[in-house]
């Protein structure tokens, strides 16, 4: 209808004039929206980075591998360590050997001890390597391929090393850089807690995965570990890494392993397992659960940012309240109906807030992505959140824009014209 078209023209004029007359106020409000939207973008960029690195972890482990451990390693590392888990028995060397003899569907099986981070001292002469993130592991030769390390120079741990409990060690590239900056470490001696080991291999550089340096590591044969670091009663808690012959067979192989291990531990039927068994997929699911907590938390921060943006819009609408009540009085005196006022101010509220929101989003996207560039991340546009931002801005604008309009439209024209 003509009436509505008339408002639209009137309203657009009014809004443009409004922005041109209140440059400072508008700029401040847009700043609020920009801060809100930018922080969303920045957070989304960080999240995207984080997700990329978890994808990396997933890609770096093999899917026909499964684990038997005392308790869920991810739950433990996130502090979800309940009493029941702590009461489970440690996995012993003899259990490992019995399992290894009985399993048919498992191609490879290693017992692993992994200290991550480890507080052992790695030293050469007087030089010591000390890092918060260093790791120390003990296993057999399969360990390297399980974690996709390549040997740059030297040889892997062999069965003979396991049998002889040889004092041999594999070192990561960060250890070499620190302790053997100019020479080839292979064949040289390294002391682990003052016990001398011969370096048999240097691995390639892996960088970081999920914040963990993969290169600050030293590895030795599992049997040697048990002899020198296993403690008095040799009750070291082992982690068993098993590999089924194919990805398709992994469920059968896991079932078999559960059955055999229960038999070894003589668990009566109906009792729960007193050990933890999981495939890589299941571990990743647990990991995903953690990221979803993270996302909830981020959602909360984002919500607060959006609220800040919304308050900016609300401010724009409220500050002009007196002015608007007077304007509404004049318009009513000149023949505007209540419904006209409602429509006109609704359109105006939506227009101002969406316009403000859009500018804020454009500025926020630019700002957030400049930050992303500095962090050497790919640019992101979180469309979902752009949409939410607009929605929040619009609803804030409507709520705080219509409130004075509705109030004033109920007054008689003279009272609202006098308002100030």
């Amino acid at each position: 209808m003509n009436r509505i078209i008339n408002y639209l023209i009137d309203v657009v004029r009014g809004v443009l004039f409004y922005f041109s007359q209140t440059k400072l106020r508008t700029a401040l409000t847009l700043l609020g929206i920009t801060v809100g939207v930018s922080s969303i973008i920045a957070i989304m960029t960080v999240l995207a980075t984080f997700e990329k690195s978890t994808d990396q972890v997933v890609a770096d482990v093999r899917t026909n591998v499964f684990y038997i451990t005392r308790e869920n390693p991810i739950e433990v590392s996130f502090g979800n360590n309940n009493k029941w888990a702590r009461n489970k028995p440690k996995i012993t060397w003899s259990e490992y050997e019995q399992l290894k003899r009985s399993l048919k569907l498992t191609k490879n099986m290693s017992a692993v001890v992994s200290e991550e981070p480890s507080d052992r001292t790695f030293s050469v002469g007087k030089k010591e390597f000390k890092s918060r993130l260093q790791s120390f592991w003990a296993a057999d030769g399969d360990m390297l391929s399980l974690y996709k390390y390549d040997i740059v120079d030297g040889r892997n741990i062999q069965n003979i090393d396991i049998q002889n409990r040889s004092r041999v060690a594999i070192i990561g590239s960060a250890i070499k850089k620190e302790l053997f900056p100019f020479v080839n470490p292979v064949g040289k001696e390294i002391k682990i807690d003052n016990i001398p080991f011969e370096i048999i291999a240097l691995t390639d550089e892996k960088g970081e995965i999920a914040g963990q340096s993969m290169d600050s590591m030293v590895g030795i044969p599992i049997s040697t570990y048990l002899k020198y670091f296993g403690g008095k009663w040799n009750r070291t808690d082992l982690q068993l890494v098993l590999e089924s012959d194919s990805v398709e067979n992994i469920d059968n192989a896991t079932d078999e392993a559960i059955g055999v291990f229960r038999a070894i531990r003589k668990i009566p039927p109906g009792q729960p397992n007193n050990f933890y068994i999981a495939t890589n997929d299941q571990l990743m699911d647990t990991f995903g659960e953690f990221t979803s907590y993270l996302k909830t938390f981020i959602g909360l921060i984002t919500g607060i940012s959006l609220l800040v943006a919304g308050i900016g819009i609300a401010n724009i609408m409220l500050v002009s309240l007196n002015e608007r009540i007077k304007e509404i009085g004049i318009r009513k005196a000149l023949g505007a109906r209540r419904s006209d006022i409602f429509m006109q101010f609704l359109i105006e509220a939506i227009l101002i807030s969406i316009l403000g929101g859009l500018v804020g989003i454009v500025l926020g996207l630019s700002f957030g992505n400049i930050v992303a560039l500095f962090l050497e991340q790919d640019p992101v546009i979180p469309f979902e959140w752009v949409f939410y931002s607009l929605q929040i801005c619009a609803s804030m604008g409507i709520i705080f824009g219509l409130y004075p309009a509705i109030r004033a439209s109920r007054l008689n024209p003279i009272d609202s014209m006098r308002y100030d």
């Binding site: 003509n2 009436r3 009137d10 004029r13 009085g329 318009r331 023949g335 109906r337 209540r338």
Partner: protein, 229 residues
Amino acid sequence: MTKSKKEIIGIRSVSKIYNLGDTVVKALDNVSLSIFENDFISIMGPSGSGKSTLMNIIGCLDVPTNGSYKFNNEKISEMKDSQLADIRNQKIGFVFQTFNLLPKLNALQNVEVPLVYSNLKRLKRTEKAKEALNIVGLSDRINHKPNELSGGQRQRVAIARALVNKPSIILADEPTGNLDSKSGTDILNFFDDLHKAGNTLIIVTHEQSVAKRAKRRIEIFDGKITLDE
């Protein structure tokens, strides 16, 4: 005085009382007044006597505390908001004592406001608004915002806005108060023409020269009508 003309405004025992805590102001005190089609009325009285209050009630902008008001024989108190809005838009042109222009809009847009609420096409709207501004002699100021106009020019924009919808009743609260004698006379001549064309005019004024043009003179003192001739 009046023959068998139609009564378009019937005010019976109307009071407007402002209760300001300890003091009570009777802006209008038991006023009765009949206004007929094609009346040309001047209202005079000292400052604060209730002239604007009476005009606001006649113009359906304010409601009386007591008494009844019939517009074209219909009780205002029983009308819906939309009916009142349409009366203000179509039937009555109001020139406010304080102009009440919209500061955001330029002269042309201000004059267009009543047309926005009267289902008129946009081009037609601009055309009519320009015509009204021409009548008050402001064709060369249509793009000026109120704060870029002199007091007299603002008053003329307010007059143009009251006339733009060609209402049959014109209520003017001191329409020539800010005008020099030349433009004041121009406006009054135009009011004379409107009266001859059959419109009803009610003008509040302090000037005898203005009151003389009216065909019916009303005087107010302390919220009461003291003269009606």
